[in-house]
């Protein structure tokens, strides 16, 4: 009975995998022989981020927790859902909030915003846990010092991505969280109006640092959170920071390989 269903299925499968279309995409047989296991890793641009063979301990879930990989996967999910959100969202004080409401209520399959927000929260947590794992296995030690440094920048970028995104719904939660966060910039030494020593930056008796040009103004594009801030954060959130993160991730992954693969005892 079972055979009656399975036999045609496996025939169809064989037909498909023998077809010209299939063999043009996958240029080798199934990864059941060692030769094909090597080929599959090398001829696929995504899989070839990996080596063909790896130390057994290093690929155990117990060792890496797959945390870096999960972080990367979340980044991909966020890029994809973020792209869909951009189809609907307009970064203006006039429309932003209403577009978010529409996204949740009128757009078909309206959980993109949820996926994007919960994914972002999750990514912040997984990046911390990834750092914890790297620290606890001493994987920042030579020769991986530099990659740890790249990682720290990625951590900062992840937090900044999340922070800039927080403003975009333009609701009370958003603007006040950003107001609280960016108020700190006012206190930047030398560069903030209420920062230590800024008052000493004068030209004759004109004070050089004021609320219209200090560090906080540079962040917000205005004296308080407003339209210029929304646009600034939107551009950073959708273009600047993701590009920077993607670029550094490429370096990060390359270096994992070049530093000898996942760390292990000498």
């Amino acid at each position: 009975m079972l055979n009656r269903i399975l036999a045609p299925l496996s025939a169809a499968w064989k037909e498909a995998t023998d077809s010209q279309v299939w063999t043009s995409i996958f240029r080798h047989g199934k990864p059941v022989s060692n030769r094909n296991r090597a080929l599959v890793m090398m001829s696929n641009v995504f899989l070839h981020l990996h080596p063909v063979k790896s130390r057994k301990a290093g690929i155990k879930l117990r060792y890496t927790w797959c945390m870096g990989g999960i972080t990367f996967f979340l980044f991909l999910v966020l890029t994809f859902t973020g792209l869909l959100l951009m189809f609907y969202y307009r970064p203006t004080v006039e429309y932003a909030y209403a577009d978010i409401v529409d996204l949740q209520e009128h757009v078909p399959l309206g959980i993109m915003r949820e996926l994007h927000r919960w994914g972002a929260h999750a990514m912040v947590i997984t990046v911390w846990l990834h750092m914890l794992r790297v620290f606890m296995t001493g994987s920042y030690k030579p020769p991986r010092e530099f990659n740890w440094g790249i990682g720290v920048v990625l951590l900062v970028l992840t937090l900044l991505l999340s922070f800039t995104g927080y403003l975009l719904p333009w609701d009370q939660l958003a603007i006040w969280a950003i107001a609280v966060g960016s108020n700190m910039a006012r206190a930047t030494p030398l560069l903030g109006t209420e920062g230590p020593l800024s008052a000493s930056l004068t030209l004759g008796d004109i004070s050089l640092i004021n609320a219209g040009n200090d560090a906080r103004f540079a962040l917000l594009g205005a004296r308080s959170v407003g339209q210029p801030t929304l646009l600034r954060f939107y551009v950073l959130h959708c273009v600047g920071l993701p590009l920077a993160a993607a670029f550094l991730m490429a370096v990060h992954f390359w270096r994992v390989r070049k530093d000898g693969g996942i760390s292990g005892p000498m």
């Binding site: 296991r37 057994k56 690929i59 060792y63 001493g138 920062g195 005892p265």
Partner: protein, 373 residues
Amino acid sequence: MIDLFKDLVNWASGPTVLFTIATLGLLAAFRFTQVWSKTSAKVFFVVLAVFYTASMWDPDFLLIVAKPDNIPITGVIFLVFFFTWFAMHQGIQNDRRSAGEGEVLEKQESEKVWVWPDLVYTEMLAMVILSIVLLVWSILLAAPLEQPANPADSPNPSKAPWYFLGLQEMLVYFDPWLAGVVFPTLIIVGLMAIPYIDTNPKGNGYFTFKERKAEIVIFLFGFLILWCLLVVSGTFLRGPNWNFFGPYEYWDVHRVEPLLNVNVSDFFWVKLLGRPLPTGGFFAALMREWLGILMVGAYLFVLPVVMSWPRDKFPTGLKWLSCHHYFEKMGATRYYLGVSLFLMMMSLPIKMYLRWAFNLKYIVAFPEIFFNI
């Protein structure tokens, strides 16, 4: 009975008590490493889960914990506990192996295996599971959206996004130029400097505790207590006006907490000498603050030098201060960089306890130029 329990938990969640308990607990766990066993992990998680679930019947607790944007904090609590335990547990098991005849697990498993299928399948599974988790989470829980932005109406409390609440909590103890600018910079620089400061060649590429005790104790104290604990308490336990509220307390906007904080200069001039603070001009301000300046200067610039002296230069009882062996091992540059970063980090708990014990506001205060420490 239940009220008594709630009062107890509210009391134990107060900043002073919670911070002290957590720190002592962590230090004890490093001293008595048996606690990182599977059994105690199970007990711990069951207790935590029961506490969490039972607390849901309390309306005030539920209100805060079930806020959509606070859900990740519950995730942080459970995940951070679990993975800290998991790392320490494996480390201690490895320490046992290498103390006996054996080798650490990661060494035993040194042979090479094919990445397809061993790794690729794991990754595949991780992606599928994560996708399901995200989908279910997103279907069940709508992303929060409050009233449209209104720049004229500031909510109380106004909170930064949750991952920055550790920094916002620091604002209680330090001015914004330190809590919001200098310390974040130092955290980033300090993290990046770790591989260059830490010269211990052991423990590279496997879990261990015994071979890297100092590194792990310092890092986990920073990560668990100074970062995660402050994030969690900033989210759950700080209410209107950033006042403290226990987990079973109602967030009363009208609660006023008296602030009777005094500066080191007040202690010296007013309380000790019984005189008014010196006033008028730059030098008077320096006079006013000399003791605080001396204290901060001594802490940042003299203490590291003193700590580099050999043990026999210290009187009994203070010998633990000597870091001479680190100075020898690491060399002067690494030593001073490392000790300075460490002392900067410890300035947070020190300032916290000074505040709690003496209501100390500023050690050095030049409000004229926004330079307060």
